[in-house]
C-alpha cells in the first residue's frame, strides 16, 4: 500500500511540472497583449518598455524563465506578480478562491444529496413511474446548457428582475457582506450548478445500484432474512457508491480549477474561473500560470485522494 501511495504521489508531482510547462508554452506563443506593455502603463516609451521587459525577466530564453518560475513556486510559494492587477498572484488567487469554494461546496452537497437519493430510489423502484420520470427529467437537466439555466433562473426568480422575486440575483454575492447575505446570494447559483450534475449522479447511482443489486451477496443477504432496508443501506448502497467517489473527486477538482466559469459568469461571482478567463483575455501570464498550477494541484490532489481511497477499499487496484 505504501509503495502504491508513493508512486502515485510522485506521479502527481511530475504531472504538475508537465502541466505547468505546457501552459507556459501555450501562452508564450499567444499573440495577445505584451505583458511588459501592460506593466509599463500609460506613458511608456519604447525604452521604458524594454527596461521593464528586462526587469521582469521577459528577455531571457523561455526555459530559463520557466526554471526561475518553478523555483519561486516550490521554494518560496511565490507565484509572481500579476501585470494586470498589480498585486501578487497568490494574493489575487486567494482573494477569489472563497467565492469559488462557496459555490462548489454548496453545489456538491446539493448534487450529492439529490443525485444519490434519486438514483437509489429509481434503482429500487425500477421501471416504475418515479423511475421513468426522474430519469427523463434528469436527461432534460443534462441537456440544458448550464449558462442558459442560470439565465432562465434569474429571469424567473431573481429578486431584482425576476417574475417571482424570491432569491438574490446577479451580482449579489459581490455586494454581500454578512454570512446570511452570502448564503442567500448563492442559492440560485448552487441550484443551477447542481442541477445538471445531480442529474448525472442520479443516473450513475442508478446504474451502479442496479449492477450491485444483481450481485450474489445481495441475494445471500436477502436469503439470510435481513430486512430489505438493511440490505439496501448496508450492502448495496455502500458498494454502489464507490465508483461515485471517483467522480466526485474529479468534479470537485476541476470545478475548483476554474470549470465553474459559466456559472460564475452568469451570476457575476468573482471566483477563480472568471479570473482565469479575464487573465487569458489580457495575457496576464503569471496569473494564468498561477491559476493553472493551483487548478492542476487540486485536480491531482483530489484524484490522488480518490485513487488511494479506492485502492484502500479494493486491493486489486493496487497492483495494476
Amino acid at each position: 500500500m505504501g509503495r502504491y501511495i508513493i508512486r502515485r504521489i510522485l506521479w502527481g508531482i511530475a504531472m504538475l511540472f508537465i502541466v505547468s510547462a505546457v501552459v507556459f508554452l501555450i501562452f508564450y506563443v499567444l499573440p495577445s497583449a505584451d505583458p511588459a506593455v501592460l506593466r509599463a502603463g500609460r506613458n511608456a516609451g519604447p525604452q521604458q518598455i524594454a527596461e521593464i521587459r528586462h526587469s521582469l525577466g521577459l528577455d531571457k530564453p523561455i526555459y530559463a524563465q520557466y526554471v526561475t518560475y518553478m523555483g519561486q513556486v516550490f521554494l518560496h510559494f511565490n507565484f509572481g506578480f500579476s501585470y494586470q492587477y498589480n498585486v501578487p498572484v497568490r494574493q489575487l488567487i486567494f482573494s477569489r478562491l472563497p467565492a469559488t469554494v462557496w459555490l462548489v461546496t454548496g453545489a456538491v452537497i446539493i448534487w450529492l444529496g439529490i443525485g444519490l437519493s434519486v438514483g437509489i430510489i429509481s434503482a429500487i423502484r425500477r421501471r416504475s413511474l418515479i423511475d421513468r420520470a426522474s430519469m427523463t427529467g434528469s436527461l432534460a437537466l443534462i441537456s440544458a446548457p448550464v449558462f442558459w439555466l442560470g439565465l432562465v433562473s434569474l429571469y424567473l426568480f431573481a429578486d431584482d428582475i425576476g417574475v417571482w422575486k424570491i432569491f438574490p440575483g446577479q451580482g449579489s454575492y459581490a455586494a454581500a457582506s454578512t454570512f446570511p447575505q452570502k448564503f442567500a446570494s448563492m442559492i440560485l447559483p448552487w441550484l443551477v450548478l447542481a442541477a445538471a450534475t445531480s442529474a448525472v449522479y442520479a443516473r450513475y447511482m442508478r446504474a451502479s445500484m442496479i449492477d450491485t443489486m444483481s450481485e450474489d451477496y445481495i441475494r445471500t443477504a436477502r436469503a439470510k432474512g435481513l430486512p430489505e432496508r438493511t440490505v439496501i443501506r448496508r450492502h448495496a448502497v455502500r458498494s454502489a457508491i464507490t465508483p461515485i467517489v471517483t467522480l466526485v473527486g474529479l468534479d470537485v477538482g476541476t470545478l475548483l480549477a476554474g470549470n465553474a466559469i459559466l456559472t460564475e459568469t452568469v451570476f457575476n461571482i468573482p471566483g477563480v474561473g472568471r479570473l482565469l478567463y479575464n487573465a487569458i483575455n489580457v495575457s496576464d501570464l503569471t496569473t494564468i500560470q498561477g491559476i493553472t498550477l493551483f487548478g492542476a494541484f487540486f485536480i491531482v490532489f483530489f484524484n490522488l485522494v480518490v485513487d488511494i481511497g479506492y485502492a484502500y477499499l479494493d486491493p486489486r487496484v493496487r497492483y495494476s
Binding site: 497583449a33 505584451d34 506613458n43 511608456a44 516609451g45 519604447p46 431584482d160 451580482g171 459581490a174 489580457v282
Partner: protein, 624 residues
Amino acid sequence: MGSRSRLLGVLVPGLLAISSIGLAACGGSSNSSNSAGSSGGGSSSSSAPSGSNVSSELAKFPAVVTAPAAAKKGGTLSVIADGDVDYIDPGAAYYQPTYMIDLAVDSPLMGWPPNDTAAPVPLLASAAPTITNSGKTITFHIKPNVHYSPPLGGGTGWTKPVVSQDVKYAIERGLLPGVPNGYLGLYFADLQGLSQAQAAVKKDPTKAPDISGITTPNSSTIVFTLTKPSSIGVIDALSLPLSSPVPQAYAAKYDSKTPSSTYGAHQIDVGPYYISSYQAGKQITLLRNPNYTAGSDFRPAFVDKVAVQEGFADTNSAISKILTGSDMINFDFSATGESLKLAATKYPKQLTLTPAGGNRFVALNTQKPPFNNINVRKAVIAASDRDALRNTRGGVLAGGLATHFIPPGIPGYQQAGGAAGPSGAQFDFIQHPTGDMALAESYMKKAGYSSGKCTGNCTITMVSGNVPPASDTAQVVKAQLSQLGFNVQLHPVEQAVMYTKFCSVVANEPNVCPNVGWIKDFNDGQAMIDIPFNGGTITASPTNNSNWPQLNNPTINAALAAAKLIVDPTARAAAYGKIDDEIMAQAPAIPWLWDYEANVSSSDVLPVINEFNGLTDLAFTSIK
C-alpha cells in the same frame, strides 16, 4: 486631450514623447469665447446647445449646472461604481471619473465651477494670476490659512497651513516614476528647467527634483517662468489635480518608495471633503474636511458624506438600482441603451444629458491598401449607416450623429459646419446619415472597381473590443463593409489589448479600427483634432500612436502648426473649423457620434453637473 480610452481608464497617448506640442497663448483674458456650441462662461442654469439634431434630446433632459437656491445641507450621497479610480494619488490621476472625487477633495490653483467651460477660475489662488514678460511669467498668490485634512490611513498628518512651496512640490513630484503623472510633460513642457529636472529624476528616482522654472519668493507667492508664451495653456493645466498642494516634509518619505509612491494611501487633502477611507476595488469614503474653512472658495459642499461603492459590474442593474433607490448617483459606467430607455421612459426627471465634448469614429488606415485610396475611403463613408452605428449605443439618447470631428461645445464646431456638417458637392459622401449605396458604388468605380464593389484581393482586417457596445459597433461596421464586397476579418479583443497591441501600434495596425474616438481636455479646437490627425503624432510615438487613421497630410500638418499659435479666440475657432473640414475632405475615418454624457440619480438627489467633465459635481450636489 484624451483618447476615448481615457474614459475607460486604460491608456493615454505617450505624452512625454510629444513634449514639443504645447498650448499656445489664447489671449490675455481668461474668458476666451467659444462658438455658439455651448452657453459656456455665462451663468445660465441649464445647458442646451443649439444645433438641430443635437438640442432636442438635450432639452428633454437638461443638466442643472448651478446649486439650486433651496439646496439643503446634510445627508450621505452614495456613488455607485463599476471600477475604481485609476490612482488615489492626485498627482497621478488622469481618469475622467477620478476627477469627480478630486474636484471635491483637492484644491489646485485654479478650478472649474460647474457652469464654466471657458476657462478656470481661481481656487487655491487668491485671484487670477498676473502674466508678465510677454506671457512667459505667471505669478500666483495663494489664499492664506488653508489647512490640511486628517490623513488617510491614520496618523498625525500635517498641522501647518498650506504654503506656496507645497504647490511647487506637488508639481515636481509628478516627475517621479512612482507618481506617473500623465500630462506634466505635455502641458508644462515650456517650464524653464523641466528637462534638467527630468534628467535629475532619472538619476535618483526616489527624490522629487527641483524645477528651476517654479519659484516661491515667499510662502504665499508662486511664480512660473516659461520659455515660450504658452501661459494660457499652463493656467488651464493648473486646474488639474497635480497642483493641489502636497507638503514635501510630509510626503517625501512616501514618495521615496519604489516602484510606486505610497503617498496616495496616506494623503492629506485641502478641499471641502477629504478621503477618510479607501479600499481598492471596494469603496472610497469622503467626509467633510474639518480643517476646511467654509466659504473660502466657490464650493458649497452640501452633503456630509460621500460613499463610493465599487464592483457593480452590471450596468443595467446598477442604473436601475440608482433610479429606484435613494441618495444615489452613478460613477463611471456609460449608460447602456436599455438603461437609457428605462430612465427616459419611466424616470425622466432623474436623467440628465450633457454634451460630453467627445467624438467617436471608425478609423480607416490610410497607409495600407485598400484604404490608401481616397475614393475607396469616401465610398466606405458614403455607404455607412451612421444611425445604425448610433443604435448600438442607445439610439437618439446616445448623442448626435457626427458629420465632422469637432463636437458641439468646442470652438470650431459651428465653423466646421455645425450639425449638418461641411457643405458642398465635394462633401457629398458625408451628407447621408443612413448611407447611400449608389453614391458609394460610384466612388468605388472612381477608385477603379468597375462593378461598384470590391473585386480581387478584398480581405481586410479589423480589431475591435470584445464586449458590447464596442463589439456590436464592430459588427455593424463589418456588415456595412461587406456590402461593398470587402471580406472583413474581425478580431475582437479586450479593450486594452486593442490599443496596446493593435490599433495604437503603427506597425501592427489593422485596416479598420472601429472603436476609437477622442474626448476634449479643454474646450479648444486643438484639444480635439490636433493629436488624432497630425502626422507628427505618428513619428513621435509609433508604439503608442493616437493618429489611428495615420493621416499624414502636409497641408493639414502645416495648418495645425499655424493654428496653435493663434491668439484671438474668434480667429482660432475659425481656423480649427476650417482644418476640421480639410480633414473631413481627406475622408480618413467615419465620424458617427458626438456623445452625450448621461447621468442618473435617485429621486431625492438634486444633482449638479459639472460641465467641464460632464460628471456630477460632488461639492454642489445635495439631497432633498
